[in-house]
């Protein structure tokens, strides 16, 4: 039976889609058959980040409405054999997502896949609700600033009260915290919340801390999941995150400010 993992946050622009793309790619690279679904109907982005924008013929809504089969709509990733993408529709709106429709698609996917990663839209409206409703586990993405953390808290509340597991009285959705755009120097300077501050508010285990980096923007622009930018700290951080998700013990990296030497302090540089 496939495990359904939602990547959610409440707030927009914190890195849900970037995390979904890298997380799904990471699982696939570890040999798990993975599908990543874009729930942001009307504002689709996942296909851009995954670099398969021009290969989208049929989308998630077409499958729900019966205009296309899953087989037709699933897009195979160009780099990784185990990874498939189900794009969102750009022309419909979120009302196209019905509970029965989404459930049917997830049930069908569950037969073939090990992991189903649901990339949630921002907000707490229907799209976000549908993305988290069926989840077994959740990656809650947050930036080190107060409003993002507050919105994540709200999403955690919805996960624990309105998800299917909560409604059915089953074991609760397993929650993981993913902190993105973390900059240890700015934390030290007091401009950003520290990991400790965030955990103090949210009280859920941290699965990964992704450093703030120019590489993420470059990855988006070139349609490559950040985890595939070999040698960058973002790629390493996402690889660690996936390993921890799969139960491995990896120490956190890129979370402490670099001690700058005299030369570096004199001549700057990053």
């Amino acid at each position: 039976m496939a495990k359904i993992v939602v990547v959610t946050s409440g707030k927009g622009g914190v890195g849900k889609t970037t995390t979904s793309a890298s997380f799904a790619t990471g699982l696939a690279l570890r040999g798990y058959k993975t599908v990543v679904i874009d729930f942001d109907i009307g504002l689709r982005n996942l296909d851009l980040i995954m670099g398969c924008e021009r290969r989208v013929v049929y989308d998630f809504v077409n499958v729900i409405s019966g205009d296309a089969t899953l087989h037709q709509a699933l897009i195979k990733d160009k780099n990784c054999d185990n990874l498939f993408i189900l794009a969102a529709s750009q022309t419909k709106d979120k009302d196209a997502l019905s509970e029965e429709g989404v459930q049917k698609v997830l049930d069908d996917l569950a037969k073939d896949f090990d992991y189903i990663v649901c990339d949630s839209p921002a907000g707490i409206e229907k799209g976000a609700f549908m993305a988290l409703y069926f989840a077994d586990e959740a990656l809650v993405v947050t930036n080190p600033e107060v409003s993002s953390v507050r919105d994540s808290d709200r999403i955690l509340g919805i996960l624990s009260s309105k998800s299917r597991r909560a409604v059915d009285g089953k074991e609760k959705v397993k929650e993981h915290l993913v902190i993105t755009r973390y900059n240890p120097d700015r934390v030290e300077a007091g401009d950003m919340l520290s990991i400790q501050d965030i955990q103090d508010i949210l009280r859920i285990p941290v699965l990964g801390v992704i450093p703030e980096s120019k590489d993420v923007l470059q990855a988006s622009n070139t349609g490559t999941p950040a985890i595939n930018l070999k040698g960058t700290n973002v790629s390493e951080a996402y690889t660690d995150l996936v390993a921890r998700f799969l139960g491995e013990d990896k120490p956190m990296r890129y979370t402490t400010a670099e001690k700058k030497g005299l030369l570096k302090r004199l001549f700057g540089g990053n």
């Binding site: 507050r150 808290d153 709200r154 509340g157 919805i158 624990s160 009260s161 609760k172 508010i201 009280r203």
Partner: protein, 219 residues
């Protein structure tokens, strides 16, 4: 306006709910009280009506008829009416009147306390007519509303409302005090300024003093 909490008495093998009424109770107030009673105990079927103060017979009859209609809708059985020594009738609207001096032992309905072990997240509202005990954090913008006391054994950062039905003896006990709002029996205070060092995130209790002022005291 806060309602007085319903009262439960134990007679023989049945629990009776006493509905305390002021002589000028309106139809809505009566209905609200009945609905509230129904929420407290989905199986309680017996109802006793008690009049506070003097009521003239016509007014009594009118009110009782009103209750009868509503009680049937909500599946309550009206057993008898408790009246004070000025009660003039042997029965009202076919329901027997019993003198209040019968000295029935009555206790306020003790709704069971609600214990919660999960964190209370932003946007979540927890309500209970009895005490509420929370063994975890209460996030910003979460609401805890209790008919009795509130105990929070984690960080309390949300809104804490105790004694919602007007119980002025209700208190709030907190392990790490930093709530946005505190209220007891409808008297509230928004804590928008930084708390003094001896209270901030420290164990504290909140209670009403004899002049109905909210007091926050370190524990």
């Amino acid at each position: 306006m806060p309602m007085t909490p319903p009262v439960k008495i134990n007679l023989a093998s049945f629990d009776y709910y006493i509905l305390k009424l002021s002589p000028d109770a309106t139809a809505e107030q009566i209905y609200d009280k009945l609905v509230h009673l129904r929420k407290l105990d989905a199986f309680g079927r017996y109802l006793v009506i008690e009049f506070d103060g003097k009521t003239n017979p016509e007014k009594q009859t009118e009110i009782i008829k009103l209750i009868k209609v509503n009680a049937e809708k909500l599946m309550f059985e009206l057993k008898f009416i408790l009246a004070n020594e000025f009660a003039l009738m042997k029965n009202i609207a076919d329901i027997p009147v019993v003198e209040l001096s019968l000295n029935l032992k009555s206790t306020p309905v003790s709704s069971p306390a609600l214990r919660i072990e999960e964190p209370i997240r932003s946007g979540i509202k927890i309500e209970n007519d009895g005490d509420i005990v929370i063994l975890n954090l209460v996030s910003h913008n979460a609401e805890i509303i209790s008919g009795g006391n509130i105990h929070v054994y984690g960080d309390a950062r949300g809104r804490l409302v105790a004694g919602r039905y007007g119980d002025k003896s209700a208190r709030i006990f907190v392990q790490k005090f930093n709530p946005e709002l505190i209220s007891i029996a409808g008297i509230y205070k928004a804590l928008d300024e930084k708390l003094p060092e001896h209270l901030l995130n420290k164990p504290a209790q909140v209670f009403l003093d004899d002049k109905d002022r909210l007091n926050v005291v370190a524990l």
